[in-house]
Amino acid sequence: MNILAIIPAYNEGEKIGEVVSGLKNKANLPLDILVVNDGSKDETESRAVEAGATVISHAINRGQGAALKTGIDFAIKKNYQTAIFFDADGQMDPAEAYNLNLKLNEGYDVVLGSRNIGRVIDMPLSTKIVKRLALIFTRLTSGLNLTDTHNGFQAWRISALSQIKLDQDRMAHASQILNEISRLKLKYCEVPVTIKYTDYSKSKGQKIWNSFNILWDLLIK
């Protein structure tokens, strides 16, 4: 097996088991699943282990970017060839991991999920507006021609992943990844994915004002 699914998780005990087994059963890929438990205070770790994932735990919460980086380090260390980033809150459809991997094998360095050429179920209007603005911001700053931005569903060739510099601990890492794709001139493409906004994911997800924090992180650091 040489595909590793990396799932950063912070207090996702309620959903993580379902997400892990979903990936296992529906991705239709021979993959190992790594949950990076980012200092959760609930049963995230035990639920993930129960569901059959490998779990690495941060002693304290350091942010999604940091958790992702730990997962990347692990994938490199264990000689995986492909990494698939997946969210812990159940918004993504595990069956679509197959499409991302398929596309990656056509010779891309990275395949990004896009909800705008895919399907979005019940996205709140406020999220729509913020995503729109973020998209414009990303196009301007990274120069990438994307239809979606900050989509956590991504498939990476480890050879490309090991080149990117990722030091944004919190949510700004999503923009940083895109900037790195642009800087390293990686071969990228988008694949439609379904993002399902549920009450759970909405309650766990980004608050709008966090956009300002992200902008601050990007501009100042």
Binding site: I56, S57, R62, D169
Partner: protein, 111 residues
Amino acid sequence: MLLIQIILVAIIASIISHSLLRFKKGDLDFKRLSLWVVFWLAAAVAVIWPDLTVLVANYVGIGRGADLVVYVSLVVLFYILFRLLIRIEKLEKNLTKLVRQRALEDYDNKK
């Protein structure tokens, strides 16, 4: 002396004595202690003889001594704030590095 002057001088005196105590305990090195003490002595002088600040203010082209004190304080505050932000950022990065390293080591040790 006005009441406000007495209060301010008392506060400054206690800050200076606190700094000296911390220097004795080794929390503060001599360079920082001297900077800090000079700063607060200057503040005390400005409180006791406010006319002096007017002299300096006029010399640099500002009308009132109090205005000069506010301007200078703001600049100093912003500078310190900036330094602190950078320091905190560095601490956070180092902390993350440690947490991530330990998480990976813990995993290896568990096996």
